[in-house]
């Protein structure tokens, strides 16, 4: 694929690309740097680039003020839990759609996609009231259920596109070899689809981690995830830019790392398999 490009233009493109990329990355980089500055240095004008006095105090303050650890654990439970439950529901469904399609399969897939288009605010009030009456408000399991439901269509779609690539012959061979459905799925389909299932899992953990409508509207102190945690920093209190930066860094770092590893699967997942 090496196109023949002169070294000059290659240098030109490289500089241009790096400038643009750094510009896009700047808010994250800036936040990361500010997180290690003192509050005074954080708002100094003119600003400093690297922290003059490198400090971890902000992280400590954030933990003391808002209990980062508790929120992070909630985030992990909700995002991983909802994804695992989603996979358990979606794997059989995707098996059906990929290997025993009927005339309605395409319609059902499109309908599932369309549930993603329903604006959350359209159902916010009933969900809020149901949650209130069932005492699910501000609970981790309540939030996990909601997160499972929102991401289920994406999980089904992603698995469907991965399963489609597995030759049906091999599943039929398993049937001929005496495998009942359960064994066909456990011993043949799932092991063959491991890469696809893994990227589905990863992407959905990321999406659930970053979901910020239901996590904010349905939780407060107890079951709050990191999105709720960070929202508590929305009203400034005195000198707080460095602490806000530390909290932001803490909230995004885990998923940023995960995202870097899974960025190639991301395209396929988020486009429902339409772009690979």
């Amino acid at each position: 694929m090496a196109r023949n490009v002169s070294t000059q233009s290659r240098i030109g493109f490289t500089i241009g690309a790096w400038l643009v990329a750094l510009l896009i990355f700047a808010p994250i980089l800036w936040t990361a740097l500010t997180a290690f500055k003192t509050e005074a240095e954080a708002i100094a004008s003119p600003p400093t680039f690297l922290p003059r006095t490198f400090t971890l105090d902000n992280f400590e303050a954030v933990q003391d003020r808002s209990d980062y650890i508790k929120h992070a654990i909630n985030s992990i439970i909700v995002s991983v839990g909802s994804t695992l439950i989603g996979l358990a529901i979606a794997i059989p469904a995707a098996w059906s759609m990929a290997f025993a399609p009927s005339k309605r399969t395409k319609d059902i897939l499109m309908w599932m996609l369309s549930t993603k288009m329903m604006p959350a605010v359209g159902v916010l009030i009933p969900i809020y009231l149901i949650f209130r009456d069932l005492r699910l408000l501000d609970t981790v399991h309540g939030l996990t259920v909601i997160m499972t439901l929102i991401n289920l269509p994406i999980i089904v779609w992603m698995l469907y596109t991965y399963f489609k690539e597995i030759p049906v012959d091999i599943l039929e061979a398993a049937r001929m070899d005496g495998a009942e459905l359960w064994n066909e799925i456990v011993y043949v389909l799932v092991p063959m689809a491991v890469p696809g299932i893994a990227s589905t899992l990863l992407l959905n953990v990321i999406l659930a981690w970053n979901e910020a409508f239901w996590t904010i509207t349905l939780t407060s102190g107890r079951a709050g995830t990191l999105t709720a945690f960070i929202s508590s920093f929305s009203s400034p209190q005195g000198l707080f830019l460095a602490k806000l930066s530390a909290a932001s860094l803490l909230a995004i770092a885990p998923i940023l790392l995960l995202g870097w590893f899974s960025q190639r699967q991301l395209v396929r997942g988020l486009t429902f398999g339409a772009v690979k």
């Binding site: 012959d169 091999i170 061979a173 001929m176």
Partner: protein, 334 residues
């Protein structure tokens, strides 16, 4: 035991009728080949027997037992797929062991049977490899190994050799035939290649557009084809068909002469023509000849004599071996 009986089986996919109505009796231990052009329904028929598709109407009996609605896992049949359908994430050993594992065989039994199958199929050295590290022929053998360990009532082969190169195909053909002689288990083998059908089968089912054109031993099909389709399909090169005035002389709508049933002469004969192409195989020569007033025919002759393009030759069909067909395509009694 493995007799298979199809009773008035038909199959439609939605509006499309793939198999109008088929009844067949396959005896225990028989090697039966389903042959026909692509789209003739032979694979569908095999999948119906396997239970991978269900019949629209009709019954399928295995050993006299109605299996029409039994799922594939319960039919006790083994199948070798065109794509081999090996489990890519399992070693050769696990691939072969899979049916036994599904049947909940003990570990000792599994080990013993896998070893035995591997020895029989020359796979002992490859047991710990993954399928992708094997050649086409080896993969084929793994697929067969996976089929034989479960000691099925019958083996189903779905064009198993079509992904192999020509030389390997001949070898595997022999191996499968030998396997059949050794196991004496019923085998149903689907192919579009009439050479495979002729060389391997005890009996051949010739299928066309979902209908059985003829069911018989290879030589029956060759010697007494029931109709023009079978006559043209079985035998290589294909039978030559002549209609019109020449056929009328024999009181038929059309007559057929196999390329090997011509007497060739450079001086005199029934039909005069000119050589168009001479394909020399060494042992034989296939001559494509333009016959005056008849058209292009193929004749087979020994490899000794040489013929040139444009040369005049005379063909005389063996009068004992002229096949006569009526307007409906069916063979007319001699």
């Amino acid at each position: 035991m493995g007799s298979i009986s199809l009773q008035n089986v038909n199959k439609s996919f939605g509006e499309v009728q793939v198999i109008p109505d088929i009844s067949l009796e396959i005896n225990d231990g028989e090697f039966v080949v389903f042959v026909g052009p692509s789209g003739c329904g032979k694979s569908t028929l095999l999948r119906l027997i396997a239970g991978l598709e269900d019949t629209t109407n009709g019954r399928i009996l295995l050993d006299g037992q109605d299996m029409t609605d039994a799922p594939p896992a319960r039919r006790g049949l083994a199948m070798v797929f065109q794509s081999y359908a090996l489990y890519p994430h399992m070693s050769v050993r696990d691939n072969i062991a899979f049916p036994l594992k599904m049947a909940k065989a003990s570990k000792e039994v599994i080990d013993q049977k896998v070893e035995y199958a591997a020895r029989t199929l020359n796979l002992s050295d490859y047991l710990d490899r993954r399928p992708r590290a094997l050649s086409g022929g080896q993969r084929q053998r793994v697929a067969i190994g996976r089929a034989i360990v479960r000691e099925p009532k019958a083996f189903l082969f779905d064009e198993p050799l079509s992904n192999l190169d020509a030389a390997l195909r001949v070898n595997m053909r022999l191996e499968i035939t030998e396997l059949h002689q050794q196991l004496q288990t019923t085998m149903i083998y689907v192919t579009h290649d009439q050479v495979e059908a002729m060389t391997m089968a005890d009996r051949i089912v010739v299928l066309n557009a979902g209908n059985v054109e003829q069911f018989g031993t290879p030589l029956e099909l060759y010697r007494t084809p029931a109709n023009r389709f079978v006559a043209g399909f079985i035998g290589s090169p294909k039978m030559n068909f002549v209609d019109g005035a020449e056929a009328a002389k024999h009181n038929a709508h059309a007559i057929g002469v196999r390329p090997e049933h011509f007497a060739l002469s450079k001086t005199s004969g029934t039909w005069k023509g000119t050589v168009s192409v001479a394909e020399q195989l060494g042992s034989d020569t296939f001559l494509h000849i333009h016959l005056d007033g008849i058209g292009l025919v193929t004749a087979r002759t020994g490899g000794e004599e040489t013929y040139e393009h444009g040369e005049t030759v005379y063909l005389t069909p063996d009068p004992q071996r002229i096949y006569r067909f009526g307007a409906d395509g069916n063979a007319l009694a001699a």
